[in-house]
C-alpha cells in the first residue's frame, strides 16, 4: 500500500513538474511573440488554385487589443484599412469610401481571399491566458530541437479548443502549430519559419497558414520589417484615421 501511495505521489510530482515546465515554455513563447506594441511591414502571398497574388501592408499594434493595418499594394487593394479595437473590426475601402463594421458571419469570411479569416485576426490573446499546456514529446523541425506541447483551452470563449505546438527548445519560438476543433478535427496548420533575433527576442519572420478543411497551398506571410515597443499615438486607433 505504501509503495502504491509513493508511486502515485511520484507520478503527481512528475506530472506537476512536467506541467510546470510546459507552462514556463508557454510563458516564454508569449514573451517572444507578444509585445507592448509593434510596427510592422509585411507581405501576404495567397496561393490560389490557378495563381498566387501578393499583398503588402503596414500594421501598428498595441498589445492584443488594438491594431491598425493599411494595405500598400497591389493597386486594387491600396488604401484599404482595417481597425481592430477589442472585439470589434472595421474596414475602410477607398473604392466605396465607406467604413464597414465586420461582424456575425462576415467574420468567417477570408481576409482578401487568404486562408485567414477575420476571426483568426481577432484571436490575439496570449497563449498562457487561454490554454493549459503539457509536454507530449520532443521532435526535430529543420534541425531545431522542439518541445511538443499540447494545449487545451481553460476558458470557454476560445476559437480553437486545443492546439499542438512545436516550440524551439532553445529560442522558445513556435515552429509549427496545429489548431483543432472541439471534436479533435484539425482545422488549421501554421508553419513558422526564418526565425530571427529582433530587438533582443527571437521572432519568426515567415508564417504559412493552411486551412486544412479547404485544402490548397495556404497563405504565406512574410515580415519585411518589424519594430517592437515603438511609440504609437492614440489617434491611430480611431475610426477617423480609417478615412485619412
Amino acid at each position: 500500500m505504501k509503495k502504491l501511495i509513493l508511486l502515485l505521489f511520484t507520478c503527481f510530482i512528475v506530472y506537476q513538474a512536467n506541467s510546470q515546465d510546459a507552462q514556463t515554455i508557454l510563458t516564454k513563447v508569449d514573451q517572444n511573440m507578444s509585445s507592448t506594441n509593434r510596427i510592422s511591414e509585411s507581405s501576404m502571398t495567397i496561393h490560389g488554385k490557378r495563381s498566387s497574388r501578393t499583398l503588402t501592408s503596414k500594421t501598428w499594434a498595441v498589445g492584443t487589443k488594438k491594431s491598425y493595418t493599411e494595405y500598400l499594394s497591389p493597386a486594387s487593394e491600396q488604401g484599404t484599412k482595417m481597425l481592430k479595437l477589442e472585439n470589434q473590426l472595421w474596414i475602410f475601402s477607398p473604392s466605396t469610401d465607406r467604413i464597414i463594421q465586420i461582424s456575425g458571419h462576415l467574420l468567417r469570411q477570408s481576409v482578401m481571399g487568404s486562408d485567414l479569416s477575420y476571426e483568426d485576426m481577432m484571436e490575439d490573446r496570449k497563449l498562457t491566458d487561454i490554454y493549459t499546456a503539457k509536454i507530449s514529446g520532443e521532435e526535430k523541425i529543420e534541425d531545431r530541437t522542439c518541445n511538443v506541447l499540447e494545449l487545451t483551452s481553460k476558458v470557454a470563449d476560445v476559437a480553437y479548443y486545443s492546439q499542438k505546438i512545436w516550440v524551439d527548445a532553445e529560442r522558445f519560438v513556435p515552429l509549427k502549430q496545429e489548431l483543432y476543433a472541439k471534436s479533435g478535427q484539425q482545422l488549421k496548420l501554421v508553419e513558422l519559419k526564418d526565425v530571427k533575433q529582433i530587438d533582443g527576442r527571437w521572432f519568426p519572420t515567415t508564417v504559412i497558414y493552411k486551412d486544412i478543411l479547404k485544402g490548397g497551398k495556404g497563405t504565406e506571410m512574410k515580415m519585411m520589417d518589424i519594430k517592437f515597443d515603438q511609440p504609437i499615438p492614440d489617434h491611430v486607433f480611431s475610426k477617423a484615421s480609417l478615412k485619412q
Binding site: V158, A159, Q185, L213, K214
Partner: protein, 389 residues
C-alpha cells in the same frame, strides 16, 4: 327585343368585320381568364406549399430573431419554458434551432445555416423521419437546390464547421441522409437540417430554440418571451409579390382589351357615319332618338356576347387542358427565392370568370354607346337624305 333582333341581324350582315372584332375581343377575354387563373393557381399553390414546408400555422420567434439578418442568429436562442415545453409535448409546436456554419464539400468552403428539428415532427412536410437513422454519425437533410449547388447527394459525407455558444470552433463529418424536393426555396437554399438534439448538443444550447412552428390546430399567441408571428406576417412578402404581379398583369390585359375595344369603337363610328339613311328611316318610322341610340349600342355590345360565345368555344377546352396538365415553369424560376412549383395548375374561380365577363360586356357597351350618342344630335330629314352631319 326589337333592338336585339336588329342588332343581331346587322352584326351578322356585317360579316367579316364583325367576326374580326369578335375574334380579337374573345382573345382578350380568354387571355384575361388564363392570366388571372394562372396567378390564382400560383398563389394558392405557393401559400399551401409555404405553410406545409415552412411556416405551419404561424410561428413563435425569439425576440432577437430576424429571418433576413444572419447576424441576429448569434443572440436569437433561448431555453424553452415549461409552458412552451408542454405545447411541444402536445404536438402543438415544434422547436427549430438555427446556427451558422461552414460546410466543406470536396475542399470548397460554403457558408450554410444549420437548422435543428425534431426528427419525429409531422407539422412540416420535411422528411425528418430520415434523420432518425442511428449510424453514429450526424444525419442531415438537404434540399435539391442545396444539393445541386454543393454537388452533394444522398449518402455523401461532408465536413461541417461551426461555433458553439461560447464561440469555440467545432467540426464534424455530417452524413447526407436524404435530399428533399421542396417548392419552397427558403427551406432549401444554403441549409442543412439535422436532428434538434444533435444541434443543441453541438452548440451547447441544451433545450434551446430559435423559433417554434405551430401546428394547424394551434393559434399562435405571445408565450413568455416568444413573439407570435401569424400567417399575415410570415407571408407578407409573398402577398406583396402577388399583388405586384397582379398589378403588372393588369397592364398587359388592359392593353389587349383596349385594342379590341378600339376596333369596336371604330366599327361603331363607321356604322353611324355610313348608316345615316337607316337612322333617318328609324326616326321617320316613329322611333325616338334614344331608341335608335339603344339599337346601335346594343349592336356594339352584342360584339361582347358573341366574343364570350366564341371565347368559350375554344377557351374552355384550352383552359381545361391547362388546368389538367399545368403550366410548366422554367427551372430557374425557383432560384429567385419565391415558392414556385415545376408547373402551375391554374385555378379559374367563378368570381374571377364572372368579373371578367362583366368587364368585357360593360366596357364593350360603353365604347359602343359613345359613337352612337351622335345620333341624338342628327336631324332626321338630313339623315334621310344621307347628308353628312
Amino acid at each position: 327585343m326589337l333592338a336585339i333582333q336588329l342588332a343581331i341581324k346587322n352584326l351578322l350582315g356585317a360579316g367579316l368585320r364583325t367576326w374580326l372584332n369578335v375574334a380579337v375581343l374573345s382573345f382578350a377575354f380568354v387571355v384575361i381568364v388564363f392570366y388571372n387563373g394562372m396567378l390564382d393557381g400560383w398563389n394558392r399553390q405557393a401559400l399551401k406549399d409555404t405553410r406545409e414546408w415552412e411556416v405551419g400555422n404561424g410561428q413563435l420567434w425569439h425576440p432577437a430573431y430576424d429571418r433576413y439578418d444572419p447576424f441576429s442568429l448569434q443572440e436569437a436562442h433561448a431555453p424553452l419554458s415549461g409552458e412552451v415545453v408542454s405545447l411541444v409535448q402536445r404536438k402543438q409546436l415544434t422547436p427549430v434551432l438555427i446556427t451558422q456554419a461552414s460546410a466543406y464539400p470536396k475542399g470548397r468552403m460554403i457558408n450554410i445555416v444549420l437548422k435543428g428539428i425534431d426528427p419525429d415532427q409531422q407539422m412540416l412536410k420535411l422528411p425528418t423521419s430520415l434523420l432518425k437513422e442511428d449510424s453514429g454519425e450526424i444525419p442531415a437533410l438537404i434540399g435539391k437546390r442545396m444539393a445541386q449547388s454543393a454537388r452533394l447527394k444522398t449518402g455523401d459525407k461532408v465536413l461541417v464547421r461551426w461555433r458553439d455558444k461560447n464561440g469555440t470552433f467545432d467540426a464534424r463529418e455530417i452524413h447526407i441522409a436524404g435530399v428533399f424536393d421542396a417548392n419552397v426555396p427558403s427551406v432549401d437554399n444554403g441549409q442543412f437540417w439535422i436532428p434538434l438534439g444533435n444541434l443543441q448538443q453541438m452548440t451547447g444550447m441544451e433545450n434551446e430554440a430559435t423559433l417554434l412552428v405551430a401546428a394547424n390546430t394551434h393559434t399562435v399567441q405571445k408565450t413568455g418571451i416568444w413573439e407570435a408571428r401569424d400567417l399575415d406576417f410570415l407571408l407578407k412578402e409573398f402577398n406583396e409579390i402577388m399583388d405586384s404581379k397582379k398589378g403588372s398583369s393588369k397592364v398587359i390585359y388592359f392593353l389587349l382589351l383596349a385594342i379590341a375595344l378600339l376596333a369596336i369603337f371604330d366599327t361603331q363610328v363607321l356604322s353611324v357615319f355610313r348608316r345615316q339613311k337607316e337612322i333617318g328611316t328609324y326616326i321617320a318610322l316613329g322611333m325616338t332618338r334614344a331608341e335608335v341610340v339603344r339599337i346601335f349600342t346594343v349592336e356594339g355590345s352584342a360584339h361582347s356576347f358573341l366574343a364570350l360565345l366564341l371565347g368559350a368555344l375554344y377557351g374552355i377546352p384550352f383552359l381545361a387542358y391547362l388546368a389538367k396538365t399545368g403550366i410548366p415553369m422554367p427551372k430557374s424560376a425557383g432560384e429567385a427565392g419565391i415558392a414556385i412549383s415545376d408547373s402551375i395548375i391554374p385555378v379559374y374561380s367563378a368570381g374571377m370568370v364572372v368579373t371578367t365577363i362583366l368587364l368585357v360586356v360593360i366596357t364593350a357597351t360603353v365604347v359602343s354607346y359613345f359613337p352612337a350618342r351622335r345620333i341624338s344630335s342628327m336631324k332626321p330629314t338630313e339623315a334621310l337624305k344621307g347628308k353628312i352631319q
